[in-house]
Symmetry: C2
Subunit: 625 residues, 2 copies
């Protein structure tokens, strides 16, 4: 173990303070499963009572899905240099099909461990990794197919239900019928359903055995729509503490997984810090690092270098790998007439390799070798869309769809090995072409989870691509995409800072939730209903707390009406005290309630007498008492 | 004429400077029509040459729709106290069916003119208004139905075409087939088509004869999708100069019309300043002002007070009025069981009035009287959705759809009077219920233009409702909505400031443009294609200039790579100099081009020989020369 580098330690200590304050109005709760070490973290938003004049009833707390991990738990002690507790370590060990290694298996990894120059940036407390015993397959898909419900699966089932039973008999459950386009939406998620979905390949539970710190989550179209946030420095900018901060910031606001797209000379060490401190699955694109190992010369990439990189990262605990194995030689020239050619970094690296060697993509030819690695650590495939369109003009073309068909072929191979697999999707697609992508993906890839970047529905708004893409993301989420990869306002322009990450996450939480509502996911509307009721009743604080970003909502409100008194005022800032539609509406409601006017009566009865009464009472909303 | 109040003058002079700088990379152009005083303003975005290594070709300037008026024209002298030039005055006079009045017709208006206390806030140079001669109907719909193509209609036709002929033979016109859901999309907009659409009621050209400063524009689903920005102070905040600034700011970024929702004691004077300085149509909700005239007591509203308000505002030059004539007595109790009751201010005022008097809504009973006023000034109806849902739970309910059916009935009455009419729509609607709104509106209202607020697709994101609603707006725009009313991030929380207005406008420009692309509007993809080509060729400045917000795009870029040199650098800031997918893509393209590998050949020919050549040349992108 190394001594913790002091400057880095200082930075991470500061970080702990700034991003770990509890979310206003919320508390962390744990729902216990079938064993005492299975405690599913959720966030409970407390609500105040309805004001007396509106009826005075109690409002139940609302439970929401919470990927923020221990960071938002005031009872947890955060020490980034120690990493998070290894929540799943015992479950993994109990299965008895893995062993702790005596040394790192990758040549590169071993080199980094012994390089004294890296002492100042190395994560201090890493234990040696585990690997499947010879011949074993430790993937959740493998267990699922053998009928085993793992603690991870049970955790996920409890988590997905969001304690809906707590509001089961309330009006909060009122919800419109959804349109799920053939998804298999459940009213209650059972561990058996989780197992079955994983076994069928319709969902993945990404959790490398070397990332025992992760809280299990599931990606599949019959579950809540998830979002991914990308972080990662580039050669030009950013450091380790900054990236860890972006991780914590991402999950605070609702990122379900995080992809570390770092490049640069400390890529290995940055990743270690991130994984050790991440309660969510971490994805990477191993070809980025492999390319750095050959000094950026794509044509010098070899299977051996790539293989060592996969093992290096698998032993660090990466939960899913983007693998661009569908970029086939024959598809590459199909991109030559595009407006923006190949825009995926991974895709263009492999295209260059294919052209330079006039050989088939080595990720494709070695795909079964890759499967062997994946199942030894339970790393999931995220089959990369290296030929995704980079602009509206290039959407849904032969290159893109050719690759998608190959990804379907690869999915079947991965499934033969019981390796969990999801499929990456575009990119830039105008609205009228979005559904074709989803339908083709479901068909070609046997309903394996789709994981899309956006898509951006127009190219004309650099600086606002979180919005151009949230539109496409909401739609494709509705149509069946399981996880939405966020886009920040800086897309195409630069590297996102903390506020950009927040904006990107928020846009995507909105898209994912709008999709869940539209699909008719059970209980999806509870939070909308609770927030709307709070809004109607001028419970300002509750409205803030129930929102995706309580702090922003409060700040915006306070810009117009900064006094605390206004947060319980019975009017809202848009209309002023005299001119409030909600005030008048309450009038209508009181009237209908008091006078027994229900929907059918009102249409039949004369109301003249009631009108006279109303005027006699002063035609005002707030009568004393 | 009053002396210009000095403090207000000073404020408006400052305003002129801050919001009237030209938009970077653009210049104002004018396309002349059939007469020399018919000069249609457009914005032309200049482009630089493609870098030599990518081919070195010239890139044509791109013309875009431009509602910003003279403010972005460096040749125009802006004096807010004088107002804008009366562009349409001669056209109106030439028709010979109007007369200038000797005094204001509204009692309230006359009272304001003679009140010395208002000297410090009154717009100085107002001339007396015009009105139709006795028995005349001066609406564009009336002219259209008599077969007359007005200069306004010709202006609109030229404007809608965006000088597409300038790029007619270029690849920029490449576009995906659209899905217009039965709209009648034209490849070229002719003045006759404009006339016909107005005559059929499928489009409106809102332009009060007392707002001759306005540049004609059209709202209809067979034209470009438009957006509206709301401005307006409330009793709590905001002043005249601030509101005029919001107007100029709104149109700078692309607002096609502006609704002035001001309340408070200087509502009349604020409106005058806004109209005199607005090149876009101005809409209002007259019931707001009428309510102020009865000190906020809805039950004291009378037809006479409302009528005087309509005339007061019509003579100021308001181009369209929101009239909540569909809030019928029998619909009101249908809202009692809603989660958020009636959230439209206008709707709730009228609901209260109906209940208090047990009488039918006086806007409904006096609807033909209102039509008489509308046609004397050519004010268009925006039939208000007073019973729109205020939350997801209340979407598409009996109250909302009952009102919509009544709006259909009223549309037919308005059309009987040749009064231009559009229909306001919801509100809050989850994605799966959006299309039902559009389909029902088209059916009930005979294809009269739909003008929707959002809709918001979830309630859980206060502080981000520009995004929750841009999703719904893009979808409903695709389905056929003609104009999208923007929502700012401050919705539900407070009054928007200048940056909120910008964010709201941008979100809605995106939604409207995404809708145009999806419908397959001719030429809609030109700007996307041009921007994407610029992006691919690392023409950073062109990319900024072609975007909706060049200043924001440049600022974001400069945060990561602030040096000017980087704006012509052949790599982008996300990937760093060594690791750029576009660089590699160019390689593929060069390769395919040089070696004659087209799509079919590539699949047939062996490529080993080419591969060897490529390696021999160094496998690098940028060969000298």
């Amino acid at each position: 173990m190394n001594a913790v580098p002091s400057s880095l330690q200082q930075q991470t200590e500061q970080l702990s303070e700034s991003v770990t304050r509890p979310i206003p109005g919320s508390r962390k709760i744990f729902v216990e499963g079938s064993r005492p070490d299975l405690r599913v973290a959720m966030r409970e938003i407390t609500q105040t009572q309805t004001p007396t004049i509106f009826g005075g009833e109690e409002n139940p707390p609302i439970t929401v899905y919470d990927p923020s991990g221990p960071y938002t738990d005031p009872d947890a002690r955060i020490d980034l240099s120690a990493g998070l507790p290894a929540l799943r370590a015992r479950w993994i060990e109990e299965r008895g099909d893995t062993e702790q290694l005596g040394q790192l298996s990758s040549q590169f990894g071993r080199g980094r461990e012994t390089n004294a120059k890296l002492d100042t940036v190395r994560f201090p407390g890493r234990v040696l990794p585990r690997r499947a015993k010879a011949g074993a397959n430790v993937s959740q898909m493998h267990y699922a197919r053998r009928g085993i419900i793992t603690p991870e699966m049970e955790y996920v089932a409890i988590r997905e239900n969001q304690r809906l039973e707590a509001v089961r008999d309330t009006l909060l459950l009122k919800q419109h019928g959804g349109e799920s386009f053939g998804a298999s939406i459940q009213t209650l998620i059972t561990p058996e359903f989780v197992r079955d979905e994983i076994a069928r390949g319709r969902a993945i539970l990404p959790n490398n055995i070397n990332h025992p710190e992760s809280e299990p989550m599931i990606i599949g179209r019959n579950f809540l729509t998830k979002i991914n946030a990308n972080i990662g420095n580039s050669a030009v900018s950013s450091g380790i503490a900054e990236e860890v901060e972006k991780l914590v910031w991402s999950i605070r606001w609702g990122g379900d997984t995080v992809m570390d797209l770092s490049t640069g000379k400390h890529i290995h060490e940055t990743r270690e810090w991130i994984i050790r401190n991440s309660p969510v699955p971490i994805g990477t694109v191993p070809i980025y690092q492999a390319l750095e190992k050959v000094d950026g010369r794509a044509e010098e990439l070899t299977w051996e270098i790539f293989r060592d990189t996969l093992i290096e990262q698998a032993e660090q605990g990466v939960d899913y790998f983007t693998i661009h194995a569908g970029v086939l030689l024959r598809y590459v020239p199909l991109t030559a007439k595009r407006v923006t050619g190949i825009v995926s970094r991974g895709g263009s690296i492999l295209a260059k390799w294919c052209l330079a060697h006039h050989k088939e993509n080595f990720l494709y030819t070695h795909f079964e070798d890759i499967c062997e690695i994946m199942k030894a650590y339970d790393v999931a495939f995220s089959l990369g869309d290296g030929l995704r369109p980079g602009c509206i003009a290039d959407a849904n073309d032969a290159a893109q769809f050719g690759e998608l068909e190959t990804l379907g072929e690869l999915t079947r191979i991965a499934w033969k090995h019981d390796v969990q697999t999801m499929i990456e999707g575009p990119g830039h697609v105008p609205m009228q072409l979005v559904k074709e992508n989803m339908d083709k993906q479901l068909r070609e890839c046997g309903e394996a989870p789709f994981y899309t970047l956006g898509p951006l529905t127009t190219d004309i708004a650099p600086g606002y691509d979180h919005i151009t893409s949230a539109i496409g993301a909401a739609m494709i989420g509705w149509y069946g995409t399981a996880m939405l990869c966020y886009v920040t306002p800086k897309e195409h322009l630069g590297l996102p800072n903390r506020e950009d990450v927040r904006d990107g996450i928020m846009a995507y939480k909105i898209a994912a939730h709008a999709a869940d509502l539209a699909k008719g996911h059970p209980g999806a509307q509870v939070r909308d209903n609770a927030l709307s009721k709070a809004r109607f009743e001028f419970r300002w604080e509750d409205q803030f707390h129930l929102g995706l970003d309580p702090e922003k909502a409060k700040d915006f409100h306070d810009e117009t009406l900064p006094k605390d008194a206004h947060k319980v005022a019975h009017f809202c800032s848009m209309c002023g005290p005299h001119f409030c539609s909600m005030k008048i509406t309450q009038d209508v409601r009181d009237y209908a309630a008091e006078h027994g006017v229900d929907e059918s009566q009102a249409l039949q009865e004369g109301m003249a007498e009631k009108s006279a009464e109303f005027l006699a009472q002063g035609a005002e909303v707030y009568r004393p008492g």
